[in-house]
């Protein structure tokens, strides 16, 4: 059995070298077909009927006028359970029905013509006021204490302890995937359904959708070659997936339903808010000794809030601490997993409170964080990263105590945040085929969200077989391939690199068995390198890769690689647990309240990096998404009517190319001596770890701290819009 490990650093020929993404040309020329781009012969268009009220009972649905519209072919009313229509609408934008017609325009006409009679019910869309929320909307969501029954007041009252208490918060935001949720559904036989779906879960979707039609998972074929963003919102079979399949069944045609932008923003994914009162105590020399927090928030109509495990965030070693959480159920479109669920909110609240304590004891924020890394689970990594990040942003030269004293309205400041994420490898099976003509195929039911999954798979194949990435054919995006996990929680790259590496090593061992005798060598004495199969270190005794594969005769090698492997250590090729440090440099105009980005530094431990190019891109992207949520993004509702006010992209703002400043990324790789433990830290030895979540966590916290450093006042609630900055300045700001 091969030894399942990665080559040592000096032996890596492909891994760790920057490579252009393999589907870059297809995407940049418009040739890549996303789910939204699939047009099937005779296809119909589906449009949704949505509820205009925040909370209402459906009294009746009359589809007769819709059915009379020219071109309308069928109407489907969303069911609560089999055969029973939905009766209660819980947010503005909740889905009532779907209409299929011959053109998109006729489908829209049809959807408008469906008459729904509502009884409007009381609503709640304000999540900022815990006391004001009705008791039945609130639910205890956890309590954590360490040590049990600790007397926090005793610590806060100690002579050597300075404590700061304040309110902090971060509002609900959307995923705002540019490709909305949706699909084309087509029945290819009475009990066989094909869906072209925008999904993060190619292998796992069929079982969910098939159940509704009483057909086995294997009878639903899910295809997703390209998808335009998910960020955690595209895992499950949605009601419109069912609706499209129902309409397709009724009409005998393929039906496309892609959500309109307002539907996407109102219904297809939000991130819970988080608000809290936090008291932190630190000794005058900067050691954090006590934490007391009570936080709440809403996950919308399905409830939920970030758990107590992220309060405090990262600094879980604070010796005396207590945290309590309450979830509020509101009439807002329900939350879905949003990159690094709970962590950005935990970071935003925690890092702000900690930076405020540092300011209260007049300590340099960098020194303060560094002094307290021992309270985290990755002290050596954070200490190293804090040093690197500080150097990259020129902390020593630029930092000043709170409140930029330079004259004029533009104030500049720096702020820090640190974060962590797990990112274990998900389960994955990968078929590896070596054909007698020398071609190689890796095939698995995974998906590429734009992270570069196709590219890293080709790199793993190329590294193992001594070939070039272009020589490896990668097939993903089809549920007919072997089951591979959903792409969420930064689990994909670890899972697919592990399954493919195992499969490639097994396939290569089989090839060596065939080729060995012809080279007069034992299989274990062969190596595949530089396009050749040769006796180790002896290029004279070799075949070209093609010659070697030709010896397979008529029989291709196909083996399955699996993560976790059948009997060996599951985490040998991939593992979990990374740490990152980010520092923001901002300017604030105290006359207008506008915050602008100067520079942003992200230092990230990412385990063994397969493709630094796509990995770095993903960190840039995460930082930009974080800048956007720190400064602009907010789901806004009218408290009187309960309606969503910005289900669009004009007033639900995303940062543009001119809003991000200069971003610098540093990947922490290789080995270094730990400053705290004194032991050697080997980052690459962790194996491959996913990158989707970690770098998106800290930007909001770092930027908020930078704003506080610039203007000398804490702006307590994100996003840091101009009105909030001006309000904080007007209050002259002790945190309130």
């Amino acid at each position: 059995m091969p030894d399942y490990k990665w080559p040592e650093a000096n032996e890596r020929r492909v891994i760790g070298k920057p490579l252009n993404r393999s589907d870059g040309i297809a995407k940049a020329t418009g040739a890549a077909k996303y789910s939204f781009d699939i047009n099937r012969p005779g296809m119909l268009w589906g449009k949704l009927v949505t509820c205009p009220h925040a909370h209402a009972k459906i009294k009746s649905v009359d589809t007769s006028a819709a059915e009379a519209i020219p071109g309308v072919k069928a109407v489907y009313i969303i069911e609560k359970t089999a055969g029973v229509p939905q009766d209660e609408m819980k947010w503005h934008g909740d889905v009532v029905a779907a209409v299929a017609a011959d053109t998109e325009e006729h489908a829209r006409d049809g959807a408008r013509a469906v008459k729904v009679e509502y009884e409007v019910l009381p609503h709640l869309v304000n999540d900022t006021d815990l006391k004001g929320a009705a008791e039945d909307a609130k639910k205890a969501a956890g309590k954590q204490e360490q040590p049990e029954n600790a007397n926090l007041d005793e610590v806060f009252k100690r002579d050597d302890v300075v404590s700061v208490e304040g309110n902090y918060g971060i509002h609900m935001i959307n995923h705002c995937c540019l490709e909305p949720h949706g699909l084309v559904a087509e029945w290819t036989a009475a009990d066989e359904l094909t869906v072209y779906l925008s999904t993060q879960n190619v292998s796992g979707h069929g079982g969910q959708l098939g159940g509704a039609f009483k057909i086995p998972a294997g009878n639903v074929r899910t295809i997703c070659d390209y998808m335009g963003g998910g960020f955690g919102s595209k895992f499950s079979a949605d009601r419109w997936d069912r609706a499209a399949a129902e309409l397709a069944k009724k009409t005998g045609k393929a039906v496309k339903i892609m959500l309109d932008r307002d539907e996407e923003q109102m219904t297809a994914g939000s991130r819970p808010s988080g608000f809290g009162r936090i008291k932190v105590g630190a000794t005058k020399d900067g050691s954090i000794v006590a934490w007391d927090s009570e936080h709440w928030g809403t996950g919308g109509a399905t409830g939920g809030v970030m758990g107590v495990v992220v309060m405090p965030y990262v600094f879980t070693g604070i010796p005396t601490r207590r945290s309590v959480a309450t979830a509020i159920t509101t009439n807002i479109g329900p939350n879905r997993a949003w990159r690094a669920p709970n962590h950005p909110q935990g970071a935003a609240l925690t890092m702000a409170a900690l930076a405020d304590v540092a300011a209260a004891i007049n300590m340099d924020e960098l020194e303060f964080f560094k002094k307290n890394v021992k309270l985290t689970g990755m002290a050596d990594i954070y200490a190293e990263e804090l040093d690197i990040a500080a150097k990259m942003i020129n902390w020593k030269k630029k930092w000043h105590p709170r409140g930029d004293k330079t004259p004029g309205p533009i104030k500049r400041g720096l702020g820090i945040s640190i974060h962590t994420w797990g990112g274990r490898p998900h389960d994955s099976k990968c078929d590896v085929t070596i054909n007698p003509d020398g071609s190689v195929v890796l095939q698995l039911g995974s998906q590429d969200l734009g992270t570069g999954t196709r590219t890293v798979l080709a790199m793993v194949g190329a590294e193992t077989f001594g070939l070039k990435p272009n020589d490896i054919k990668v097939n993903i995006g089809d549920s007919r391939y072997k089951q591979s996990g959903a792409s969420g929680g930064s689990t994909t790259v670890g899972g697919v690199c592990s399954s493919s590496r195992r499969g490639c090593l097994d396939a290569l061992a089989k090839l060596f068995e065939t080729v060995g005798p012809a080279l007069d060598a034992k299989p274990e004495d062969l190596e595949a390198i530089g396009g050749k199969v040769q006796v180790k270190g002896n290029a004279a005794k070799s075949f070209t890769w093609k010659q070697a594969c030709a010896r397979l005769g008529m029989n291709a090698i196909t083996v399955e690689g699996a993560q976790p492997g059948p009997s060996t250590g599951e985490f040998k090729l991939a593992s979990s647990g990374v740490g990152g440090v980010q520092i923001a440099d901002v300017s604030v105009d105290i006359e207008t309240g506008v915050v602008s980005m100067n520079e942003f530094v992200a230092v990230q431990d990412q385990g063994l990096v397969i493709n630094p190019k796509t990995c770095t891109s993903q960190i840039y992207g995460a930082v930009i998404m974080g800048i956007t949520s720190a400064l602009m993004e907010e789901i806004i509702h009218d408290p009187i009517t309960g309606r969503r006010l910005n289900p669009d992209m004009e007033f639900y703002k995303l940062a543009g190319i001119g809003d991000i400043g200069n971003i610098k990324v540093h990947l922490l790789t290789g080995k270094f001596k730990g400053q705290i433990s004194g032991n050697e830290v080997d980052i690459d030895a962790k194996g491959v770890i996913g990158n989707g979540e970690p770098p998106v966590i800290s930007p909001g916290a770092a930027i908020a701290n930078a704003v506080a450093n610039a203007i000398g006042v804490r702006v307590p609630v994100l996003p840091l819009t101009a009105d909030r900055v001006l309000a904080a300045l007007a209050k002259k700001g002790a945190v309130a």
Binding site: G24, A28, A31, D37, L178, G228, I624, M625, I657
Partner: protein, 224 residues
Amino acid sequence: MKDPGLHNQTRSGESGEQCTDTSGVSRRGFLRGSGLAAAATALSTPLAEAVQQSGPKIIGPAAVDVSLTINGQAKKLKVEPRVTLLDALRNHLDLTGAKKVCDRATCGSCTVIIDGKPAYACSVLAIEAQGKQIRTVEGLGANHPMVQAFVENDAQQCGFCTPGFVMACTAFSMKNHNPTLEQIEKGLGGNLCRCGTYMGIKGAVQQAAKAVAALELKGGINHA
């Protein structure tokens, strides 16, 4: 170094006059038509009849024949007058490179080049686009310098905003063949990306602007 003549090629100075004459549906065309009608009817002809004779052409609401010139090729289709150029491209011609994201002229994912200028295809009616030179991302091809620069600078992740950005960057480069970072940040503010690919896009435009401008001078076709 100055590239003489490049600016002439951008056609940025052309007026929107063409728009009124070809489709007969623009606001300007309507006002002009009404004015003529009023003058002619002052003496004897009933107003309604005069409008019918010389006023704005009334088309729809049923589907009408539309002729579009896309990437140099004549395309005929039958769509309702309310159909946008974006929906005509995507739903009727299977040219799905331009993406539908906001559908309200905010995000730029549907950017095409019409008579040398970038335009949001979601906010142009198909009937309005008749008689114009429409270029879509499909017309660029894999060897186009902006496409190459997007790949080399990894200016894409999920890629859904990419075709719109490639077209916006191409149109931008036709005018700015040696752009500063500031010009790039201002000039490309009309397109949005959710994955956060702006760092790569800045690099791509800086790399490719000059080559794009030179290529466009030759008529926008890559002979490489």
